[in-house]
Amino acid sequence: MNGWMGTILRVDLTSGGIVKEPLDVEMAAAYVGGRGLASRILYDELNMGCDPLGPENMLIFITGPLTITGALSSGRYMVVTKSPLTGTVCTSNSGGYFPEAFKTAGYDAIVFTGRAERPVYLLVQDDHVELRDASGLWGRDVPATCEKVRRETHRGVRVACIGPAGENLVRYAAVMNDVNRAAARSGVGAVMGSKNLKAVVVRGTKGVRVADPESLLKSTIIADHIKKADLGIAFGEFGTPLFVDVMNANNIMPTQNFRLGFFEEGDEINGAEIIDRTLVRSKACYGCALNCGRNTRLPEDSKYKGRGDGPEYETCFSLGSNICVGDLDALTRMNYLCNEMGLDTMDAGTTLGTVMELFEMGRLTEKEIGFPLNWGDADNSLKLLSMIARLEGFGREAAMGGKFLADAYDAPDVFMGSKGQGFAGYHPRGMVGQGLLYATSPEGGNHTTGNTIQPEINGIPEPMDPLSSEGKAEMVISRQDETAFIDSCGVCVFPYMLMEQGTEIIAEFYSAVVGVTHTEDEVRKIGERIFNLERLVNHRLGFTRKDDTLPKRLTQEPHSEGIGEGNTVPLEEMLEKYYMLRGWDREGVPAEEKLKELGLL
């Protein structure tokens, strides 16, 4: 089989049963891999009413047919499950080196069900698969877990694991791989913790077969091309924190819990500052010719200590501008702490933003928190993050997430997210299409199910007014569908989204790997099928139009001074059109005709 490995591994943690099952070829052709194929498995098998943190929930680790093929940036995997943060289907994806070892061990996916009686980890070395006792690992942070597992098994293994946050079922706990990479979002780490599964440890020696290798050599040429383009040069040099400057310049850098779109101390936490102060060297994920990763270390003269990766742009936003921390060292230390504990830096930041605003309002006081938490207070933020991961004191409540706190303290509008998940670092009042995208994303506040920066801010492929609703429904639909396909292929969405011809190129790569001739339109159609399938899963989980919302701060409070001053997000208007163009009814449910067209009925 070209692209796919042809085997799905099923692990029932309750019984300890391990079964290897052939991949359903028709399913693979229709849903590709990654979030597409995983959502189909959930659609067919998940008890929708299950407790996300109960044994009935399913946890799927999955790559795609293009993973480790030489297609551009092909080293990705995803974790798909029913989210304990949002209650929706969720997809959390990550790069690093784990995906290569996972796929070359010979599996397209590992499907976990049940709950182990005692902590275990799964060891996969090619055909050899076993569950091992993890009681000696439980309680350890991420770096210590990876280190101990390698000593217990083989130096060459790659490890995906949870830290204390996942063990303690923090609703936004991450699955960490290769120490510093994260399948961060939607609480996939808590699901892993609820199953008593501490780690997935892999080593593989098999090959990924491809139909037309010559076409894949093109990927290095394309990478070269991207690197020579303006954005590409800056991206390679500064990594994702480059976006601090882009967002600030366009007044869309969410600041002080989205009150503002400009962070005055942006220059203190941007890509240039990282190069000056903390960068050891830039690095790439497996199989990626771009090197946006940042290997960093806090300098000797810093009051904070440590080394690791990051911060990425999203963390510069969430634990930087969003909570008004303009100190790179403190921000970096918070990032390291989240990685060590296995916490999503993004919801960690939006939760802290919620707490700070509640504190400012007097809804939360020192009595509840244990200390004051004012805007920009990095040291008390660090203290709270540590309490969250360990469920100490107020950390137990904050571990439930920003939406929980905002509701519990009777200020629901203070939480900046959608469907219970915090937003990413793009202020929708200054780019309203992003608002529509957040509202309709399967897992709520999310920057990975499409991103509207290229069309709305960079004017690619055509300039459009970021403040107007015109053309936004069409644009968001095509971004979502394209991203659904790219994600499902098991590659990184980044380079494809940067390129004007990204969809054409992914169609070429898919064809070259699998040995078919899919056009740009055909892969977009597959993406549409996947996006609609996720919508169907969510519908079964009880989600409808009432959940496609944005907080009042975005739809009613005018945008702050600068570009787009006074603007709000015209969500209802865009949503109406979006449903119509999607072929969904007014409640946001895919109509029968659309389902037939997509082969979903």
Partner: protein, 154 residues
């Protein structure tokens, strides 16, 4: 004298594209596979991840791998300077792997393999940062690269 693949550590990003594309060259029987585990170039990172090192044969002047081989399957071509392993004669004992202090000979199944400098090396074509390049053999750069390999073992 002859050619080899040079490696510049400062440029490497640890992406492993060299291993991926190298392996493509060596898949057989009309099947094309990306299979890094059979590659003749292998990338490792040191413990604190300050160095990324692609191990690729230095084509030594006096190859320890050749001296160690009990079957005399490893030899240095006097014309090209390239050290090759005769696959038919290799018994997979691993003596050459152990003998190479640079970590540039690998056991794949029951055969030893190493870089034998392809005509149009895909590792070089795939390296977007040009950390790997086809170059003329010269002692100074070989010694330097050898020191790096000894420092960051396989």
């Amino acid at each position: 004298m002859g050619l080899r693949i040079s490696f510049n550590e400062e440029l490497c990003t640890n992406c492993h594209l060299c291993s991926m594309f190298c392996s493509l060259t060596f898949t057989r029987n009309g099947i094309f596979e990306f299979r890094p585990s059979i590659a003749r170039v292998r990338v490792v990172e040191n413990e604190d991840e300050t160095k990324y090192v692609a191990h690729v044969c230095l084509q030594c002047e006096t190859p320890a791998c050749a001296e160690a081989c009990p079957e005399e399957a490893v030899s240095k071509d006097p014309e090209t300077g390239i050290v090759t392993i005769n696959e038919d004669e290799c018994i997979g004992c691993g003596m050459c792997v152990d003998a190479c202090e640079f970590g540039c000979v690998f056991l794949v199944g029951d055969k030893a393999v190493k870089c034998e400098v392809c005509d149009d090396p895909l590792c070089v074509r795939a390296c977007a940062v040009k950390a790997l390049e086809l170059c003329e053999w010269d002692e100074e750069s070989v010694l330097e690269q050898g020191d790096l390999y000894r420092e960051v073992g396989l």
